[in-house]
């Protein structure tokens, strides 16, 4: 019984795909099962891992968001400018706090508009994304710069551990910000599974009317979900600056589709109500591996978009087709009676 249940879950297939892909990469290059590669993968997982948590929550609640890269970049840029102007030199926590607050406000704007206008979240966030991005590029006149505030630039060289490959002489380091990924994932998992708010998010995605009748404060939940995504995006903005080591205000453009793809690949239903933290993390890992490791397999990087497209279609197609077949079966039964 348990294995049968396992076979029905998307997570299982994603995990199998990851395993097979890693075997293929190992066979082709002999570079996959090395400490270096694992540390590099963990490092590459930090940003998508954090962002997918917020996106997953939104999709479970029946919404979607394409504005979080814009929120992330705007809050990051505004914070860094502010700290540079005031020549701030205290603890780095303030940078995170300011960016998170800006992100929270922008996310709440999304949430409020979605609650008020009752239109697809996709269209609303497409609009706000354009506003946020335009604000950053036009009003704040954003530009790439390597000048960072003192506390942030000191954080760049803070690592948890470093592994060195003796043969090749290459060393890979795991940045300290990796800790934040673990904290955020644990927090999201706890929130979704053990709190009333978390159950409310699932209920809202399953059926908004039923959730409201069951006594959930539907608009409050929506505001929380978009606010959380905004705050997370602001936090990720600073984290990314620390990872990259410079202020790159345009670097996340187009990243929303990768995150949505990762979440959906991991078995979260785009229509809402279903989704797990494990699945989303596995989805993010698979896409990270595709973009990081194709080159190890000797496939030119310009194929990576094609492979992502195939993965999205396969990952969503299988479960969607099963649902459609069940629905048709049901409809046929009703008609026969």
């Amino acid at each position: 019984m348990k294995t049968k249940k396992l076979l029905k879950r998307n997570e299982f297939y994603v995990a199998v795909t990851i395993f097979l892909l890693s075997l293929v990469i190992q066979l082709r290059s002999g570079q996959f099962f090395t400490a270096n590669n694992f540390v590099d993968l963990a490092r590459a997982m930090i940003i998508p891992g954090m962002l997918t948590m917020g996106v997953m929550m939104e999709i479970i609640s029946g919404g979607i968001d394409v504005s979080f890269p814009a929120i992330s970049m705007l809050s990051m840029y505004a914070t860094l400018e502010l700290l540079l102007k005031t020549e701030y030199d205290g603890p780095v926590a303030l940078a995170f706090a300011v960016a998170t607050m800006i992100g929270l406000c922008l996310g709440l704007i999304n949430g409020a508009l979605i609650c008020w206008l009752k239109l697809p979240a996709f269209i609303i966030t497409l609009g706000t994304s354009s506003i946020y991005l335009g604000f950053m590029q036009a009003v704040l006149k954003s530009h790439t710069s390597s000048l960072l505030p003192g506390p942030v630039s000191r954080m760049v060289k803070s690592f948890l551990l470093t592994v060195t490959n003796q043969e090749l002489g290459i060393s890979s380091s795991l940045p300290s910000v990796f800790v934040f990924l673990i904290i955020i994932v644990a927090f999201t998992a706890f929130l979704l599974k053990y709190t009333m708010l978390g159950r409310g998010i699932y209920a809202l995605g399953g059926d908004p009317v039923a959730a409201e009748r069951a006594g959930f404060h539907v608009n409050g939940i929506r505001l929380f979900v978009y606010g959380f995504m905004g705050a997370l995006a602001g936090f990720v903005g600073i984290t990314r600056t620390i990872l990259v080591g410079s202020c790159q205000p345009n670097s996340l453009i187009g990243y929303e589709m990768t995150c949505i793809a990762a979440v959906v690949l991991g078995g979260t239903r785009i229509s809402g109500g279903h989704g797990t933290v494990t699945g989303s993390l596995l989805g993010a890992l698979l896409l990270t591996m595709v973009s990081n490791s194709l080159i190890l397999m000797g496939i030119p990087t310009y194929w990576s978009k094609f492979v992502t497209g195939i993965l999205i279609i396969l990952g969503t197609g299988v479960s969607a087709y099963q649902a459609l077949k069940r629905q048709k079966q049901l409809a046929a039964n009703v008609l026969e009676d």
Partner: protein, 338 residues
């Protein structure tokens, strides 16, 4: 008398709102910068530019009326453009005869349309036969098609295209009437005909307002969805050819902001994002407004180009909010009238 006016405004409030907006923006620009705006060159350049994203918006309108969305339009446009250009290059080689150029161009256009239809059919199959939600299906389709385009061109551009394409695409009849405008008018007429005069259009509106009801009324929803996305792909291919003609190159990443603009135009033009309503004339008005405002912004060099993003986004949210408030008021009036 008052009733009549109210009735007229209500009957097509969106169109009247849009025509007022268009009129006001044209007059405002004409007063502010008459030396630039009112010249023939400027007018023609506006007419020359808007068909590219206008045609994409027409395709997007089909999908949005059906209750879906097509995020694949730009990828389809670039992919068909690239294939058509490669085809022309290979067949024509270095030959200089203009007659052969035109003949090959015609075949290339047909080829591009075919590619666009295939891309659209791919999205249609994913949505209708597999039941993937349109956002995801077209997102995956977009990655797939754009991935193919990138792989085919190895991320660089296709250059040295035979001059026939550029010469035809940028031709302006009598220095007044660009070819692109003619293409846009043809596409708009085609779209309007499909939506208003065919059973397909009727089924499309029905399916968009309630898919279950239309299925139980005997409408083949799957076929309607397939047709919708095939039309969208075909129109995207036309737009792709226009882009290739203007730039005289083909690339996988042209017009990346056009998806957003096409959606904006549809919503601005009164197409309901939830499906079921929308008119071609609304879309045409919205395209014109967008182009007038965009050209208007270009006249002020002190404003950076990035302000456009800000303004488009704000316009989108504002229009949605206006429609929402308008609908609420209308509902209240209806309830009060009873």
């Amino acid at each position: 008398m008052k009733d009549k006016i109210v009735h007229f405004l209500k009957a097509d409030s969106n169109i009247s709102r849009l025509s007022i907006l268009l009129f006001v923006s044209v007059v405002a620009l004409a007063i502010m910068e008459p030396d630039i705006f009112l010249t023939q060159d400027y007018m023609v350049s506006m007419l020359y530019l808007f068909p590219e994203f206008g045609i994409l918006a027409l395709g997007m309108a089909f999908c949005m009326i059906s209750g879906g969305i097509d995020l694949c339009v730009v990828a389809t446009a670039n992919f068909s453009g690239i294939l058509a250009c490669i085809f022309m290059k290979t067949v024509l080689g270095d030959s200089e005869t203009p007659g052969a150029g035109i003949a090959v161009l015609c075949i290339a256009v047909l080829l591009a349309l075919l590619i666009g239809m295939i891309c659209g059919a791919l999205n249609g199959v994913l949505i209708a036969k597999l039941g993937i939600p349109p956002i995801l299906a077209t997102l995956g389709g977009s990655d797939l098609v754009m991935g193919l385009a990138i792989a085919l061109t190895k991320g660089s551009s296709v250059t040295d295209i035979p001059p026939a394409l550029n010469a035809t695409g940028t031709h302006i009849f009598g220095n007044l009437f660009p070819v692109t405008l003619l293409v846009f008018i043809l596409c708009a007429c085609f779209a309007a005909y499909q939506l208003n005069k065919t059973t397909f259009g009727y089924k499309l509106y029905m399916m968009g307002s309630n898919a279950t009801a239309s299925r139980y009324s005997g409408v083949d929803n799957e076929k309607t969805i397939m047709k919708t996305y095939i039309f969208s792909g075909m129109l995207a291919a036309v737009s792709g050819l226009l882009m290739c003609a203007r730039f005289n190159t083909a690339r996988a990443d042209f017009g990346s902001s056009y998806t957003m603009q096409a959606i904006l135009i549809c919503v601005l033009g009164g197409v309901n994002p939830n499906g079921g309503s929308g008119k071609v004339r609304g879309v045409v008005f919205a395209v014109l407004i967008l182009q007038v405002l965009s050209s208007g912004l270009n006249m002020f060099p002190s404003l950076s180009n990035f302000y456009k993003d800000l303004i488009w986004g704000a316009a989108l949210i504002l229009i949605i909010a206006c429609n929402h408030v308008g609908n609420r008021l209308a509902e209240k009036r209806l309830l009060g009238g009873n």
